[in-house]
Amino acid sequence: MRTFIARRLLGAIPLVLGIATIIFFVVNLAPGDPADRFSSPTMSAEAREQVRVNMGLDQPIHIRYVRWLGALAQGDLGVSFSRNRPVVDIIQELLPNTLLLSFTAIGVAFVMGILLGILQAVRQYSLLDSIASIVGLFFYSMPSFWLALMMVLVFSLFASVWGWPISFPPSDIQDIDYAFFSPIEKVQDRLMHLALPATSLALVLAAGIARYTRTSMLEEIRQDFVRTARAKGLSEPVVIFKHTLRNALIPVITLVGLYLPFLFSGTVFIESVFAWPGMGKLVVDAILQRDYPIIMGGSLVFAMMVVVGNLVADVLYAVVDPRIRYD
């Protein structure tokens, strides 16, 4: 197992290198002066010259490329123009929020999706199956920001104004009094703030997961071993959950890896709408402000998150499926 992980880690390095390369070339080949990418619009002329010298813009592109990689390897992602702080510091502050949102969303999505998929498989072609498919498809086809806006309006504004029993806060990760809360209140507060954004993200994913689970379960249910289990007289829930599900879940786990880039992209919209201070919002704001150090650093971090996520998914897959060899 360890060799397996080590191999995959080693294999991820060229991947990350490649992504860093893509970013470098996109920025340098785009029209406009690359020095503009690194010098803030409000800098004096001398400071801009200094930037050109520092960047070695007189150097051929392969030298610049190597220096870029060198700076990256040292963990230096530059200083943000708009926020005037080292990019690493900013990312350090915001990354945990995105991870919290993403993991919660994935968790919710998988639980919802798998349960729904099982239900659909067990009752294939019934009315429930059709309705669930349609509803799932509905959410799957919706632009996530539209869903997010609807959720804000319905579960925050209307819920509050029309006096529903529960209404959720529409923005940020915590209440302004968070620092004064007891630990239990803190957890509660976080959950309340997580509710809408995580659900918005999760709904879109859950639909896809449900479909995949349904297909996978359908395949497994036809297998002989299931027939044997039933013949042995085992109750239906045991048959489904104890025997069929395990096998059916194996391909579903690969979905984690597949959905990861999608998940992180999704945080871009969700974080914007819900004012969730995370990486997605950071990169979007940076792109709109042409804050290139953040754009590049943020994109790189995103990509690395995906790579790590894929690695984790592969390991999970290997753990769960005994048929997979460790090479």
Binding site: G11, A71, S171, A275
Partner: protein, 586 residues
């Protein structure tokens, strides 16, 4: 198998090598492309600065714990939110942003003077001041009971330091134009004693306005920082230290700024603010922001759009505050372009646009049509200027275009001049501003009726500023907003000396306008100045460097539980230290 492993190891080795080569471990700092300010980019320096500062502030403030002044108004926390963040934080040396300057002036720091409702200066950090008879010298006497939040006394050295920074070209102080009539040589400022400072200046009508707009900065914290490094110094956004009514507590990146009441604030100036805490939140999605206001998550929504106001008016929990402001929206014309060089064309573009209808529709009535750069509430305002000369009249517009030589020669609906150049222009506006987008699109539709082809183009804010502010001035028309200072001065905009500077979007070069711009600031008496202002405004109407659109009223949505809020053209946070919340609604 073996081949694959070898390959992997080679790659890993390469990566390690690059990493090793790329960094010199600090020996020579000319390495990476990012290292602009070496001393700060080193993680150590910034962190250390802030640790020390924060420790000092805590130590100083701990002595006031438990000293709650007896008044039922004291207490509670208020949340103000808007779609914009506070870039550059509390660092007045480098900040250009309006919200930032409001927080600096009224929340965390102090200016020497403030304005009252009639734009007359009243003492704040400066207890009093004297001006010599010939208006060449001004002496400020500073309060001796104002302390920085880390315990140091605010004194004249801080004032002198702030001034020197502002005039230092390396600081790139955004509003250097403030100080043009202040003597900037080595004798310009003299610290007479700990609380007295003297400035030399050239006579001017609004000599005190710069001190209304510039906050005094702590010399003991920032004095040693090289000017070029000020912008990225952690003081601004990580650990600001002020001397104003509120102490900085926390800045959550991209989310919120938290301040708490300063118990040591001088009693003469109102003492400790009523509010315990003030939180500024950043919410970029307008619908979410409106929802927060309507559900009570946020107490003040800064600048909702007129279209969003209906929900606020309908709500029982929230009030709408409305007041005239000193900002106007304009479409700036680049007169350097062939199509726009002739002033008759620019006049035609203005007359071909139904500005009153736009104000009525887009602003829902919360604004006035503008024909010049003087706000309606200003003493120099003359409502008759341009009202008839620039009224909406498409026939007149067509006549002007024809007289300027622009006729539709090929029947495609768009006019050309004799050389065959088409009267096709782009109007740029910044992303994220619905109103400016609407203006551009409406002009496109209306001007097509007089034979002008307009293409609206959305450009990101920073890029747009670059395009209009620097050669080669890549734009035809631009929808922009401009906030005028009380010291009305269009020199930066229209004087031919400044024609290559940032704000000379239009490229105006008229000796008669220049003369007015030079003479106006020298007339101290407002009665005398008013007719001169009117004459100047008429010239501006004739030249039409801009199509002035409107002065929009400021709108703010405020939760009813918040009392004592006064907002006017001086700003939204004007009297935040006097806001209070009844005890049962905290």
């Amino acid at each position: 198998m073996r081949v694959r492993l070898t390959r992997l190891i080679l790659v890993a080795g390469l990566a390690v090598t690059i990493g090793a080569c790329g960094g010199d471990g600090g020996a020579s700092r000319e390495a990476g492309p990012w290292m602009l300010e070496a001393s700060l980019a080193e993680a150590g320096a910034g962190v250390q600065f802030c640790e020390e500062v924060t420790a000092n502030v805590s130590a100083y403030m701990s002595q006031f714990e438990g000293q709650m002044p007896p008044s039922e108004r004291h207490g509670g926390a208020v949340v103000v939110a808007s779609i914009g963040d506070i870039p550059d934080g509390m660092n007045n040396h480098v900040s250009q942003d309006y919200t930032a300057s409001q927080h600096q002036s009224f929340v965390n720091l102090m200016t020497l003077v403030k304005y009252d409702e009639d734009q007359n200066p009243e003492p704040y950090l400066a207890e009093s001041w004297e001006v010599s008879d010939d208006a060449s010298e001004i002496t400020f006497h500073i309060r001796d009971d104002v302390y920085w939040h880390d315990g140091e006394l605010t004194d004249a050295y801080d004032v002198a330091y702030t001034f020197k920074r502002a005039i230092d070209p390396e600081t790139a102080f955004p509003n250097a134009a403030y100080w043009t009539h202040y003597e900037q040589g080595p004798d310009g400022v003299e610290v007479v004693d700990s609380f007295t400072v003297k400035f030399q200046m050239r006579p001017h009508a609004d000599y005190i306005d710069p001190w209304r707009a510039t906050t005094i900065m702590p010399e003991h914290l920032l004095g040693d920082v090289p000017s070029a490094e000020l912008r990225q110094h952690p003081y601004g956004t990580v650990c600001p230290v002020g001397n104003g009514p509120f102490i900085f507590v926390e800045h959550r990146e991209a989310a919120s700024w938290t301040f708490q009441a300063n118990p040591a604030f001088p009693a003469d100036l109102g003492g400790r603010p009523y509010l315990d805490r003030y939180v500024y939140r950043v919410i970029t999605e307008r619908t979410t922001l409106l929802t927060e206001l309507l559900t009570g998550g946020v107490d003040v929504f800064i600048r909702p759009f007129p279209d969003e106001v209906q929900a606020i008016l309908d709500s029982d929990a929230v009030d709408l505050l409305r007041y005239p402001f000193r900002g106007y929206v304009l479409v700036g014309w680049n007169a350097r372009r062939t199509q726009l060089a002739d002033k008759r064309v620019r006049q035609a573009l203005t007359r071909g646009t139904n500005r009153q209808e736009i104000v009525d529709a887009l602003l829902q009535g919360y604004g006035t049509v503008a024909n010049g750069s003087v706000p309606p509430f200003h003493w120099a305002y003359d409502p008759s200027i341009g009202r008839d000369a620039m009224s909406y009249d498409q026939d007149a517009a067509r006549a002007l275009l024809a007289a300027a030589g622009w006729v539709d020669r090929d029947g495609d609906g768009v006019r050309e001049n004799a050389a065959g150049v088409r009267l096709a222009i782009s109007i740029k506006y910044n992303h994220g501003n619905d109103m400016r987008q609407d203006i551009a699109e409406i002009m496109q539709a209306q001007l097509s009726q007089i034979g002008v082809e307009v293409t609206p183009m959305v450009v990101e804010w920073g890029t747009l500023l670059d395009q209009i502010g620097q050669t080669p001035r890549d734009f035809d028309g631009v929808v922009m907003g401009w906030i005028v200072e009380y010291k009305l001065d269009d020199t930066d905009l229209f004087h031919s000396d400044n024609i290559s500077e940032t704000y000379a979007w239009s490229g105006t070069q008229r000796p008669d306008i220049d003369r007015f711009l030079e003479e106006l600031p020298l007339v101290v008496d407002r009665e005398e100045a008013k007719p001169i202002w009117s004459e100047y405004q008429e010239l501006l109407v004739d030249e039409q460097p801009y199509t002035f659109f409107f002065f929009d009223d400021r709108l703010d949505g405020i939760n009813k539980r918040l009392r004592g809020v006064e907002m006017d053209a001086r700003g939204e946070w004007l009297n935040i230290k006097d806001w209070w919340i009844p005890a049962d609604q905290r």
